[in-house]
Amino acid sequence: MDITNYVVLAAVLFAIGATTVLLRRNAIVVFMGVELMLNATNLAFVTFARMHGDLTGQVLAFFVMVVAAAEVVVGLAIIVTIFRTRRSASVDDVNLLKG
């Protein structure tokens, strides 16, 4: 199968994730968008690793997974805390840091 398809799939997944991040207000959904973007990137890494016959891309994919796992732990904790104090998970309500 043509390897280009994998790259296109990764790009499509990334675009969906980015759109989700930009358009949705619910923090959980935004978070899912981020996960989607990360995994799209992983797919691209693996694809290019295959293409070049080099394991570096696969190793990087593992790194991204580890980071993503840690990020989920911290991110969900933040979201839960915000929800507890504000009774809302909308990212637009959390705007105290505006200049």
Binding site: A18, L22, R25, G99
Partner: protein
């Protein structure tokens, strides 16, 4: 000497401990505090007597002893030591301060009897004595300065002692501040002199700084500068022209304070400084001439003011100024004058303390009245005060054999001694000194007869004058006897001059421009004439109860020859103007100038602040857009480049 020198710190220690106990003990010491104050001062006096007898028994050349106490600070090759110098000069002061000081303490017990703050008063008196003793016992300018400031502080506290609960409270507080601020100007002079001296000699102790090595290598300009700075200091402390304005107002304090300031402590410090620094002054003839000039001006200034004052204390204050002027004049005359400056200081200490305490006794009897136009005929009611003040009056007039004669006559003779190359000096200063003696005779006789003489009392209603308690008149008796006899005891055969010789150096004998008997006779004649004039005006003629308008000079003298107006016009108003200019300059030029920079930064920041909306999604959009832009740019550059 060396076996008893260990006692010397106790001279300062006793009154200092007394002050500490009274101030820290607070109200708990109210009942017996005044007696503690008296005891502290008396203990110091007892130590002084022991040291004095020991010193008399020591050969003259061994009488100067430096006693190292401890090292104040030690840094690199700089060592600042604290030590005591006991020599005939400091011993004279110690005797005067402790003896007269103790008498004033005893007097105050009765005088301040009804004052609720009597204990605090005694604490300050003890502090005053301790500070003055530190000043005269110090063996370096640095420790002298500690005492110098201590005296300034104590005088401030005492002049403003009645600063609450009286109609004149505000005035008293202002008088205290005035004294303090004017003294501060003099203190600047002392600091500057110390700095110059340190720069030259590298040390401030008398042993090094005033030694032949130090003074001998001093340039004329340095010596003159140091001499003038020291003179400024002395002017502040001793109320000499042009820093004399605080002395009259200082009468706001309780009368024993005036006695203490004028007789034993404070104003004598300037004369002490001049005599102690004699070596420097002798190296600077210009500075010496200025000292003599200041003395002569103040002498006449005080005497003229004294003639017009109706307030008994203010008249005495003007008299002090004038008498200290005599001492300054003598101190500027070199070794021939030093001994007489100190001798006059000593006799003046006795008769002026007696006169002030006598005035206090009169005020006590007359219900705090100070206007002499409301006294008169008091000799029958206050016989002890009358006699003791009479002795003081004869002493200050310089009538032989009373004490003032021996000291003041010495100064007048010294003033007539010609100075090489400046023949006018002997005549000018000699004449001023004689003239001063005549005016002194006038105003003191005026004061004496307005108070005690006159056939018709001019009292206000309901006054029943009577002598105070024995606690008040015993000190008067002691001081009266001192005023009468001290000069005779110390003056005959030059005993006192010989006593001070180890410090002041031996004065070569010079003949005055006029023969000595002529000077003495002339002085006595003008003194008697001045006294007779005053007697005619104020004892024979009736004294009006309201002050007559008087001549231009009288009106000027009543206003202290416009010293306050002069100070305000020449110093205060330009000072205010300068302060205003600086204030406006600081606010409108410096402040505003520098505010431009932070304002610019703030505005610049404001522009970028708008980007911070607080919406996470807009940041994300920004990042996505940014990545897109970078990608497009990379594609354009690399992609198009690759295509070629």
């Amino acid at each position: 000497m060396n076996e008893v020198i260990g006692l010397a710190p106790w001279l300062v220690g006793f009154p200092l401990i007394g002050a500490a106990i009274l101030l820290l003990g607070g109200r708990a010491t109210d009942r017996w505090g005044h007696w503690l104050g008296v005891a502290a001062s008396a203990a110091s006096g007892a130590v002084a007597f022991i040291l004095m007898f020991r010193m008399i028994g020591t050969p003259a050349e061994d009488r100067s002893v430096d006693h190292h106490l401890w090292t104040w600070l030690s840094a690199g090759n700089l060592d600042v030591d604290l030590g005591i110098r006991l020599d005939p000069l400091s011993m004279t002061f110690v005797m005067l301060v402790t003896f007269v000081g103790t008498l004033i303490h005893i007097y105050s017990v009765a005088y301040m009897d009804h004052d609720p703050d009597r204990r605090r008063f005694f604490a300050y008196l003890n502090l005053f004595v301790a500070a003055m003793l530190t000043l005269v016992l110090a063996n370096s300018y640095l420790l002298l300065f500690v005492g110098w400031e201590g005296v300034g502080l104590a005088s401030y506290l005492l002049i403003g002692f009645w600063d609450t609960g009286r109609p004149s409270a505000r005035e008293n507080a202002v008088a205290a501040k005035k004294a303090f601020v004017m003294n501060r100007i003099g203190d600047m002079g002392l600091i500057a002199a110390m700095a110059l001296l340190f720069a030259h000699a590298g040390a401030l102790d008398f042993g090094t700084a005033l030694s032949e090595d130090s003074v001998g290598t001093m340039s004329q300009a340095t010596a003159t500068a140091i001499g003038l700075c020291l003179l400024l200091a002395a002017c502040g402390k001793s109320a000499q022209f042009p820093l004399q304005a605080w002395l009259g107002d200082a009468m706001a304090g309780p009368t024993p304070v005036s006695a203490l300031i004028h007789a034993a402590t404070m104003v004598t410090a300037g004369v002490y400084l001049m005599v102690r620094s004699g070596a420097i002054l002798e190296a600077a003839p210009t500075a010496q001439l200025v000292v003599v000039l200041v003395g002569a001006v103040t002498l006449l200034f005080g005497a003229i003011v004294g003639c017009a004052k109706d307030d008994i204390k203010k008249a005495l204050a003007a008299s002090t100024m004038s008498q200290i002027g005599y001492m300054m004049l003598a101190a500027g005359l070199g070794p021939a004058g030093y001994a007489f400056a100190i001798f006059h200081l000593l006799t003046h200490g006795f008769f002026k303390a007696g006169l002030f305490l006598g005035a206090g006794s009169v005020m006590h009897a007359m219900g705090d009245q100070t206007d002499m136009r409301r006294f008169g005929g008091l000799s029958r009611f206050l016989p002890i005060t009358w006699i003791t003040m009479g002795l003081g009056w004869l002493a200050i007039l310089g009538i032989p054999p009373f004490s003032g004669f021996w000291s003041k006559d010495g100064i007048i003779e010294a003033a007539f001694i010609p100075v090489e190359g400046q023949p006018w000096r002997a005549w000018v200063f000699g004449t001023v000194a004689v003239l001063g003696a005549a005016i002194t005779a006038f105003y003191m006789t005026r004061l004496f007869f307005m108070t005690f003489g006159g056939r018709r009392p001019r009292w206000t209603e309901n006054q029943h004058p009577h002598e105070g308690s024995p606690l008040m008149w015993w000190p008067l008796v002691f001081l009266g006897v001192g005023s009468a006899a001290l000069g005779l005891v110390l003056g005959i055969g030059g005993t006192f001059t010989t006593w001070l010789e180890p410090v002041t150096g031996h004065a070569e004998h010079h003949e005055p421009v006029l023969p000595v008997p002529v000077i003495i006779t002339a002085t006595l004649v003008v003194v008697v004439l001045g006294a007779l004039l005053a007697f005619r005006m104020y004892a024979v003629n009736l004294v009006p109860e309201e002050a007559p308008r008087g001549s231009v000079l009288t009106r000027a003298a009543r206003k202290d020859l416009y010293q306050d107006a002069a100070n305000e016009t020449l110093v205060m108003k330009p000072g205010y103007g300068l302060a205003r200019v600086v204030q406006v300059g600081d606010r409108d030029v410096v402040d505003r100038g520098w505010s431009v920079l932070p304002q610019a930064v703030s505005w610049f920041g404001g522009v970028f602040r708008k980007a911070q909306t607080g919406y996470v999604r807009s940041y994300a959009a920004g990042m996505a857009g940014g990545v897109l832009v970078i990608a497009v740019v990379v594609w354009l550059v690399v992609g198009l480049g690759g295509a070629q």
